[in-house]
Amino acid sequence: MLTYILRRLLYMIPVMFIISILVFLTIQLPPGDPITKMIENQRLQQGRVFSEKDIEMMQARFGYGDPLPVQYTKWIGNIVLRGDFGYSFYKREEAGKVIADLMPLTIAISLGSFIFTWIVALPIGVLSAVRQYSIADYVFTFIGFIGLAIPNFLLALILLVLGLTTFHTSFTGLFSSAEIQQAPWSLAKVWDLLKHAWVPMVVIGTGGTAGLIRIMRANLLDELHKPYVETARAKGLSEMRLLVKYPLRHAMNPFVSGFAYLLPYLVAGEAIVAIVMNLPTEGPTLLNSLLNLDVYLGGGILLLISFMTLISTLLSDILLAWLDPRIRYGN
């Protein structure tokens, strides 16, 4: 098991390397050099002229003026070796600090919707399969299809409107007030967060839940009619024990490997829902940084959310190996 985990960890390195190149190329795509543009903007808007020394410093730090491969090496080198994500010209702050402020909440919301998806999808999927063609099955299948078909930004928008018109509360943001958001972490702050965070979690999780219910239902249905289930039943195993011990274990495999792709999906959903609901997470900041050619902030966020999803793939693989010895010992 340990060697398996180690091998998967080593395998992540080249993948992360390729992703970092992709991200770097993506943020460099807009025409023109972002730093030159920034210098120009500063001069035009604030009359601030960069001294020779500033430019030299920028060359040393970001490889300003160097060819792209050198810039890339400096960029990724700073991140990996020093945790230095560069400077956000738009926010006038260290990009690393902006990201560090955003990431905990982003991860919390993504994980929250992840747990929501799992807690909801697993029992409903099992129920839909065991009681196939029952009213509950039809109702959940129907709701699942609706969840799959409604764009989550639209769902967010509709919930915001419902919140304001019917419940007279605002679902925007994650905290009751800006003071609480600025305040240091305390039990009261966590409680306030929980009170607000469930709405985006449900919104983000809905589509994924619908997909997972369908996966679970289809896989369990395949297993339920196999002879070994009949045998176990004939031997007098109770229905519940039978279900949990045999067919469910089989059906869990695609379910677990399915969630390797669930987190990228949730993070992507999070980005757009956060923009609509104005959450203090990476979504709105990413959009703004991309729109304003704030390359280091945008690149850092893109890199980190890709990293997050890679970790989730790793976790799902480990879970899969733990569940299924064939994967652990096979090639």
């Binding site: 799959l148 639209l154 928008l157 945008g298």
Partner: protein, 432 residues
């Protein structure tokens, strides 16, 4: 085998168990018909059993028909100001400013006991205390009718000539020229609309107006042209990439397979919307709308070909070992012919099902990007571009009809999902 014969067989089997002796030969006949039926027939029978998929197919056909003949189905044009030329002022253009943000007009179908649809014209009033603008219905009835004249519109590809000048010697062109000489391009222009005000100058807002007084309902119909075609074009591009790379992966194997599989894993690890956002923003801002459209479509397919590639690869891998492929190989059939004539047709139905299931993702992606304002931009009108006006909650509360494009997206995606499910079941007709 005809459909009636199948129905007959079904009818008899449904009565089943009443008279066994009479049933068996017929059943045998039905079974034989079943065995003799070509594959597409089997697929159709299987597909037909999936009621929701059948309904969805009809819905999708209707949606695309409306999109192709948008000008005919839309009572007004998407943007009357754009149609205006020195020689042509679109009718109804004048009242546009009076109806800014007007709510939907309820249509009354019966007038004095006879069928005579009409709507009441609106008048803008201002609340003296709160100064809020509201629209109140006046007594003026605007008569509506079917097949009424209105804004001029074009259906088809007005930029594609039927017989370009350099083809004037072409035999077919010579043949059709005397008969259809007036048809210059693959398009026709007309001004008859399915439904609308009898007097084209009258305002008609069945689904309300937007912030510059354009008819939301007509825009919804025009927007479907872009929103529905993004899915098709995007899936087509993904299909090309997916079949090529997936096929290469499955057929060649070895390090090529390894490389392509790792690429797919990398692409699937990146959350799509953030990357789409980055790529869409990287497009030059003052690009021609046509290029923006194709740019967005290419961006969407860049991440979405992986699903198709995986299906294609899996199929190639499993088929490579199949008996009929071995038989063809032993017969000395060239490799290219084996692939094109034996392998590809045997999994084409799976590909079509997978494609149908990929379309919703494309439509969702486009609308998400346009909704955020980084995808398609006005003057292009798509459902996402329309929803962009509803990005603010306060706007939605005051003008809920701006969310209608969301309903259109919802219906389309639901229909494609059901259709894809039905096709996937039907793609394997021998699987019970």
């Amino acid at each position: 085998m005809t459909t009636e014969a199948k129905n007959e067989a079904q009818d008899i089997s449904e009565e089943g168990g009443v008279d066994l002796a009479a049933e068996i030969p017929v059943m045998g006949e039905a079974a034989e018909r079943f065995a003799m039926a070509p594959q597409w027939q089997l697929m159709w029978w299987k597909f037909r059993r999936h009621r929701l998929a059948l309904v969805s197919l009809v819905v999708i056909i209707i949606l695309y028909t409306v999109a192709i003949f948008a000008g005919f189905f839309a009572p007004k044009s998407a943007d009357p100001t754009e149609l205006q030329t020195p020689s042509y002022t679109p009718p109804g253009y004048a009242h546009q400013t009076e109806y800014i943000n007007a709510p939907p007009m309820p249509i009354h179908w019966i007038d004095n006991g006879t069928f005579a649809p009409y709507v009441y014209a609106f008048k803008k009033t201002r609340d003296p205390k709160t100064l809020v603008e509201t629209f109140v219905a006046t007594d003026t009835k605007i008569r509506l009718g079917f097949f009424v004249p209105g804004d001029r519109y074009t259906v088809g590809f007005s930029s594609v000539p039927v017989c370009p000048p350099e083809w004037s010697e072409n035999a077919i062109c010579k043949l059709i020229d005397p008969v259809l000489g007036f048809v210059k391009t693959l398009a026709f222009t007309a001004d008859i609309h399915l439904f609308g005000p009898i007097n084209p100058e009258d305002p008609f807002y069945p689904a309300g107006a937007d912030d510059v007084g354009r008819d939301v309902f007509s825009r919804l119909i025009y927007a479907s042209q872009v929103s529905l075609s993004v899915g098709l074009v995007g899936v087509f591009l993904s299909l090309l990439l997916g079949i090529f790379l997936g096929g290469l992966s499955g057929l060649v194997g070895g390090w090529v397979d390894n490389l392509i599989q790792r690429t797919i894993e990398v692409l699937r690890a990146i959350p799509d919307i953030p990357l789409w956002m980055a790529l869409a923003i990287a497009m030059p801002p003052r690009l021609d709308p046509v290029y923006v459209y194709f740019g967005v479509t290419i961006i969407l397919s860049l991440l979405r070909w992986t699903d198709l590639a995986r299906v294609v690869r899996g199929k190639f891998l499993s088929l490579r070992e199949d008996d009929f492929v071995t038989a063809a190989e032993l017969d000395g059939v060239p490799r290219g012919r084996i692939i094109m004539r034996h392998m590809v047709p045997s999994f084409m139905s799976h590909i079509i099902a997978q494609m149908t299931l990929s379309i919703p993702g494309m439509i969702l992606g486009e609308s998400a990007l346009s909704f955020l304002g980084v995808g398609l931009r006005p003057p292009v009108v798509s459902w996402g571009v329309m929803l962009n006006k509803a990005i603010d909650v306060v706007v939605v509360i005051n003008k809920p009809w701006l969310l209608l494009p969301g309903l259109a997206i919802f219906v389309t995606i639901l229909a494609f999902n059901f259709l894809g499910d039905g096709l996937r079941d039907a793609a394997d007709p021998y699987h019970v």
